[in-house]
Symmetry: C2
Subunit: 338 residues, 2 copies
Amino acid sequence: MTQNQQILLASRPQGEPSAANFRLVEVPVPALADGQVLVRHHYLSLDPYMRGRMNEGKSYAQPQPLDQVMIGGTVGEVVESRHPGFAAGDKVVGMGGWQLYSVVDAGQPGLLRKVDTTHVPLSAYLGAVGMPGVTAWVGLIKIIEPKAGETVVVSAASGAVGSAVGQLAKARGCRVVGFAGGKDKCAYAVDELGFDACIDYKAHPDLKSLSAALKEAAPDGVDGYFENVGGMILDAVMLRMNAFGRIAFCGMISGYNGEPIPMAHPQLILTQRLKLQGFIVSEHMEHWPEALKELGTLVASGKLKYRETVAQGLASAPEAFIGLLKGRNFGKQLVKLI
Amino acid sequence: MTQNQQILLASRPQGEPSAANFRLVEVPVPALADGQVLVRHHYLSLDPYMRGRMNEGKSYAQPQPLDQVMIGGTVGEVVESRHPGFAAGDKVVGMGGWQLYSVVDAGQPGLLRKVDTTHVPLSAYLGAVGMPGVTAWVGLIKIIEPKAGETVVVSAASGAVGSAVGQLAKARGCRVVGFAGGKDKCAYAVDELGFDACIDYKAHPDLKSLSAALKEAAPDGVDGYFENVGGMILDAVMLRMNAFGRIAFCGMISGYNGEPIPMAHPQLILTQRLKLQGFIVSEHMEHWPEALKELGTLVASGKLKYRETVAQGLASAPEAFIGLLKGRNFGKQLVKLI
């Protein structure tokens, strides 16, 4: 009988998560019922939203239950199928969780999707051509609605979402400015991804210094801001917003461990007539087909670039996730499971 | 030769304005040129936005120039006309400023508008059927977009804008909760204007107490919030916002004198997928005809109620304005000039 390995949420973190909040267990893979499919995961996706799910309180969605497999996106291969729509060997993307195998009720719409790896690598379906890419697309295209010649700013610029935001905005004729942590990430955003400028926030410990850097990078002000972090970067960007600017709130990672992150100058919403809007990509399913089509085409043709940080083996997932929250990853954080 | 009295901005206030920031002068009314109209003002409107104009820095619009007549909405009567569209005796609304008379280039579109006082009192064109009423209409109908059964909250509930917001929302089948300063204003909002509940923020000195009162008044959470004040009330409302709630930023009077008014929990924009949008009614001229039509009909039929606080004489305008910023007025603050 095939053995499965799973990582469960053992306890809820107070502040920063630690390895002790997780527990690895080994259980047998159950036999399939009619309509089910067994998937062997090749990659697990690690994403900042998972930190929110680990809290008890109200966040995006239901909290992650204790003593159950951590949720997470996965890509892999069907190894056994009792559903007519899937066959052994099919490459699939789904929400398999932090484990080596998942048993999926393949008839339920949206749980499992076959993908074509001829021109797009399997792992990209967890990144640029997956949830992070669509997140970038929806926030940028549907909330920020950038026009050619406008200035778009994105934080966590070298990450899975931020790198796609910047490249999609460049393709629409915008000036693009990123925030990232460290010289290497900033150099990558400018030299590889084509950003017009990138600010290393670690080199600017206070608002004054950060604001001066942004003023230099965005001399005509900011029309659209894609928010992934919150805190001081949000304050600095708001002070540079042009009239009728738009801010898409996608993430506020600086507050995910419970730190207070007040917004210093909300009156700018009024004086600059801003629109601020929060969104969760899973609530905009109507845009996924159009977004995935553009993202897939861009990745296949090499026009949308991305970078991956790959941890090896399921047991490395907790440390890799903790590192993600600290910005230790470079691009999309994955765990290779095979 | 007719003498005019004018109030000029003599100096820019640091923090709260005082009478010393204004200067009353007497000057002769000039002779009319072709196309001009002389208006004798009956009422001057005092509005919170004027405080922003008194600062040097960037706000909604150009700052009020020093040593010039303070801007302001006025209603009055044409006493002399050299424009074919206006005749002596016409009742008009315009932006005549803090003075007894104004000379208007009546051919310039939007500067002067004739009004019908058969069913609507002249002063109402500065309130419920004027800029404050349209402000309420645009923020509520075009930004909050209330649906029947939803809960709408408005601050400064007994004021010129807030009282219209609440009554328009009630007419659309919403549960309406106000914030106002003092028992009398709250009783008026509930008993006269038909609000479902009104919270006296002066009786709740801290966020915990204010939040508890809001929870009781809005048991199903808040779907739309019309923001006139900012500060602790905004924090309390945000903590009660339902998913997909909308906040229209119309004013933040608690910060008009330069006080810091940080927003405590901007991460709620994300977790509750809120939309926050600032607006200025003069930038939405396309909605004025529809709004004025509804507001005029409602006032004429007695279905839209309002209250006025009337100061007597131009010289009383500075003190009345200072009182407005402190919430000493009850309903629309006017200055009677005749």
